[in-house]
């Protein structure tokens, strides 16, 4: 790790580079990009979004991959739960968030199953998990 001339002090210009603990910010990882483009950002619901239920499923699955609360607790990172300041940041997705997500996955999957056959045929995959 190279020491910057003025020592390990953070600095930035308008466009970077930034050094924190002598590390430059890392390149946009696919995980960070996916988390943002699929799970953040404004949702404007048009006709197509209504029909793309399984895409909502995808984003929910992605959110489930963003560590379940139980696993987080196992790792000892439940610190947001007891702290009102941080709990507020959680936007109500704390303890019960996973149950709510699981419930939505099930509801959406049910709706997909119930869709008329003609909408199903082009995406029928025998090994699809239900």
């Amino acid at each position: 790790m190279t020491q910057s001339p003025e020592g390990p002090v953070a600095r930035t210009t308008q466009q970077g580079p930034v050094f924190v603990g002598n590390r430059a910010p890392r390149a946009d990882s696919l995980a960070d990009v996916l988390e943002r483009v699929l799970d953040k950002g404004i949702v404007i619901v048009g006709d197509i979004q209504v029909r793309l239920l399984d895409i909502e499923l995808l984003t929910i699955k992605l959110r489930l991959m963003i560590a379940s609360v139980d696993r987080a607790r196992e790792m000892g990172i439940n610190w947001w739960e007891g702290d009102p300041f941080v709990t507020n940041l959680e936007e109500g997705e704390g303890r019960d968030g996973d149950h709510e997500l699981q419930r939505r996955v099930e509801a959406l999957e049910q709706r997909l199953t119930d869709r008329p056959a003609e909408e199903q045929h082009d995406r029928a995959e025998p090994d699809r998990d239900r």
Binding site: P8, V9, A10, R11, T12, Q14, Q15, G16, V18, F19, V20, G21, R23, P25, R26, D28, S29, L30, A31, D32, V33, L34, E35, R36, V37, L38, K40, G41, I42, V43, I44, V45, G46, D47, I48, R51, L52, D54, I55, L58, R63, M65, I66, A67, R71, A72, M75, G76, I77, N78, W79, F85, V86, N88, L89, E90, E91, E93, D122, R123
Partner: protein, 271 residues
């Protein structure tokens, strides 16, 4: 060509000066990007081949990383380029609409709210902060030698030792939580707004160390210097001695701040 769909990247102010604040040359699949003006806002859109990027394509390929990655990156790069010269609110994928009218209709009732939010994020950039830890030193592992000799003596000793190990582990966890919270607060203090997201699973982050903190901060440009100073300081003085590594990513368009958080400004809450 099987017809086209309108892909929406993000929302900018309608009075965007397109001479100075240029639109990116191309978006997803190398297609041109254009501005669809409304009353007070404008949507940055592109026309994509319906066969390649339309509804059926999403249904077929959404879980195929080889298809999804270039779409996600193409979407992100347009927003990133816009954010370099102007304020933009990112739209979530899949943002495809049948035509311009379908999109403006869906957006019409949101226009005022979006303009208000654009003004809120103006002059800010989003920075991601993640903290990774090596495997936590498990204090539960009993010290050998004397403990081992006594191990055979009685079940009561065994239980006692188990209990001590468990309480040491709890203490270690609690102390790590305090460090993470201290680090988070030091950064949130400088930010206009902050969001704590769930840590990414290793399957998503692709890293061997667990992610312990996954947060995003909306920072005014003139506060960035201070933000990085705080980050550098807590990184060196609080996290590194405990074997924790802080990584900053960004600048990002304000993906995490398109809707108001429950509490704003957060810096006030922290006092």
């Amino acid at each position: 060509m099987t017809g086209s769909v309108v892909h929406a990247y993000g929302v900018v102010r309608a009075d965007l000066d397109t001479d100075r604040e240029q639109l990116p040359d191309s978006g997803i699949g190398g297609t041109p990007v254009r501005l669809l003006p409304m009353r007070t806002i404008a949507v940055v859109v592109g026309d994509l081949d319906a066969g390649d990027f339309g509804e059926a394509a999403w249904q077929q390929h959404a879980e195929d990383p080889a298809w999804l990655e270039p779409v996600a990156r193409g979407h992100h790069q347009v927003l990133q380029a816009l954010a370099a010269t102007s304020d933009v609110l990112p739209l979530r994928l899949p943002g495809i609409y049948g035509d311009d009218d379908g999109l403006t209709e869906a957006l019409a009732s949101e226009e005022d709210r979006l303009l208000e939010r654009l003004l809120f994020v103006a002059g800010h950039r989003e920075w991601g902060v993640q903290v990774f830890g090596g495997a936590m030193a498990e204090p539960g592992t009993p010290a050998p030698t004397t403990a081992q000799t006594s191990a055979a003596t009685s079940g009561r000793d065994y239980l006692l030792r188990r209990k001590q190990a468990a309480s040491q582990r709890d203490e270690a966890r609690a102390s790590r939580q305090r460090l993470l919270l201290e680090a988070h607060r030091a950064l949130a203090d400088v930010a206009t707004s902050s969001v704590v997201n769930r840590p990414q699973d290793r399957a998503l982050s692709g890293r061997s160390e667990p992610m312990l903190l996954n947060s995003a901060h909306l920072v005014a440009r003139d506060a960035e210097q201070r933000f990085f100073e705080h980050a550098d300081q807590v990184s060196r003085e609080v996290l590194e001695p405990a074997g924790l590594v802080m990584e900053i990513s960004g600048p990002w368009p304000p993906y995490n701040f398109v809707t108001p958080a429950d509490q704003e400004p957060l810096a006030e809450e922290a006092r």
